[in-house]
């Protein structure tokens, strides 16, 4: 048997899904009668499936028992390379996700109308390695039709950002919807 190597991605995902399932199944206790039923009828088998997956992940020696439940040896941590990406790829994933988060933060602060051109120029210049002048041209060519379609034709109001109101409906003055 090859050296045991825990697959962190599988385990993390399984624990995350288990947390969701457990929170809803346990939360169902607060409700009465039939309101609990579907949460329990669906929730208990789901928790059972996730438990089997976690056991298979943590204890590959038990795979011969879990195999009968549909967990194949391909899922054994030491044999599953699908989720084991190279560190360079993880770095790329982190960078791409960072761009998404950065875009959201800039939308939240500045609104779509300011954040989108900035994001597009920055992404094209830094990630796509376009010259700044070319990135700006691409931005103008791409976003002017978008502005015409979304704002002038479809009349979709876009988030103006939480800055103080600067240009009404375009920049600043957005009221944050309640979260809690």
């Amino acid at each position: 048997m090859s050296k045991y190597k825990l697959n962190g991605i599988n385990l993390l995902t399984e624990f995350f899904l288990m947390a969701i399932a457990l929170s809803i199944v346990l939360g169902a206790i607060a409700y009465e009668g039939k309101q609990q039923l579907v949460a329990w009828v669906i929730g208990f088998p789901t928790i059972g499936f996730l438990f089997i997956l976690i056991v298979a992940e943590l204890a590959p020696g038990l795979l011969k028992f879990t195999r009968a439940f549909g967990v194949s040896e391909d899922d054994a941590p030491e044999q599953n390379n699908a989720a084991q990406m190279e560190s360079g790829t993880w770095r790329r994933v982190g960078i791409v996700y960072g761009w998404l988060v950065g875009y959201f933060i800039s939308i939240f602060l500045l609104g779509f109308y300011l954040a989108t051109p900035i994001f597009l120029i920055a992404f094209l210049a830094i990630e796509s390695k376009l010259k700044l002048s070319r990135a700006s041209s691409v931005m103008l060519v791409a976003l002017i039709p978008c502005f015409i379609v979304f704002r002038l034709i479809l009349d979709i109001p876009l988030w103006p950002g939480i800055l103080p109101k600067f240009i009404p409906g375009i920049v600043g003055g957005g009221s944050i919807p309640p979260l809690t």
């Binding site: 995902t13 969701i20 088998p45 996730l50 009968a68 996700y97 959201f104 989108t116 990630e127």
Partner: protein, 501 residues
Amino acid sequence: MIEAMIAALANMSDPAVIAAICLGTLLGVIFGVIPGLGSVIAMTLIMPFTFGWDPIVAMYVFAGIIGTASTGGAVPAILLNTPGTIANVCTTFDGFPMTRRGEGGRAIGLAATASGLGTLFSIVVLAALLPVAKLLILWFTPPDFFWMVILGLIAVTFASRQNMVKGLAAGGVGILLSLIGFSSVFGVRRYTLGSEYLWDGIEIVPLVIGFFALSELMVYTSRGGTIAQDAKVNLGGMKQILRGALEVFQHKAILFRGSIIGTVIGAIPGAGGAVANFLSYSTAKQASKNPELFGTGHPAGVVASESANDAKDGGILLPTLTFGIPGNGEMVILMAAFILHGIQPGRDLLVNRLDIVWAIILGVIGAQILTTIVILAGGAWLAKISLVPVKYIAPFVAILSLIGVYAVRSNIWDVLLAIFAALVGFFMRKAGFPLITLIIGFVLGHLAEEKFTQSLQISQGDYSIFFTRPVSIILLIAIVSMLGWSLYRSANPARANSESN
């Protein structure tokens, strides 16, 4: 049924409907031609912008994308040896060798015509089966619908041959997530953790965009480069294209068989165009007097592959439109679009909203005809789109995704939810959890709870109602058979594989 069809036909002259079909076709072809994108991302991106449109017009856009993406995917498969979608893989086997011989145009002509005829065949079959399905669905009672939802989840996991336990776990989590928010069955809000944002439940649009568009964006942007490799595109002129288009009729048996295979396989939830594509190709090869020609640039190979992968469109619409059971990613997004437009998929759609059903059917036909013309006229130009590096496409997908998410409810937290869903979707992909079962569970969760509760109300709390009705028993046998076969396959992998082969 006939009145609805005539009304839908009359609608086809409406400029808004024509524009919707053209938009759907354009998106379907472009996203089909670019490897790695495909119809699911195209539908996901356009879905939020259709909010507020006339639902019928919106359905023509979706039908346009459904009908065209795999036809568009044939272009890079033939000219660049890179299938635009997974359903075009077998097209490369003979299409690309034809291009290398300088017969790219002939192969494009074959593919476009075979795709068009395959789709038309399957849509005619779908239209013919609708009255039967309408009668059949009236036999279904609430416990039958509950089992149908469970069967749909199991069938998708089973047919896609992914890990059964992971598929079922993801489906279960999807159903559990659907319970969050206001329950129309009980008239109360549940599992909101005191958050006002969750009062109406988790919004489908940010979840779907995060899972399908943004997590896919993370995958292909982190990989970098272009998926298609540049090659000298050699079409050989319009004369060759027309020659190929007419040559399809010399392979009538293969075309007919491919269309049947595509329609039948398409109707099985989870199987989809890729399975139909391989099955049709291998069947054509086995039945041929000259099997050695397949893989060397044989026109019959292109016909077999393309007729089947497009004929799946009619088949795959059948369980979605009749029972509300989506069989693949495209259908999941279509279901999400139904919900966005306030349309209840399944029985209500078939009984009360036949105008929507016919809009989809006619939309697929219209878009397929348009695509065939577009590809015959501009195949070489379309192939060039495949060479656009993903690093140029990524920011536009991100921008459209997030604007689309915001546009539906004008709630900035939906944008944050989409970004979080992208991360969860990415990890689920990497861990081998099928996203499609989670979304199917989420979409069908309300229906499952409603039917489960209705069943118990009918039986006054007696659970035997789930095990005594004839349709329920048939569905249960199907569920037990699938689970049993899956267990057998897991316990005896070698034997099961040899039997499957």
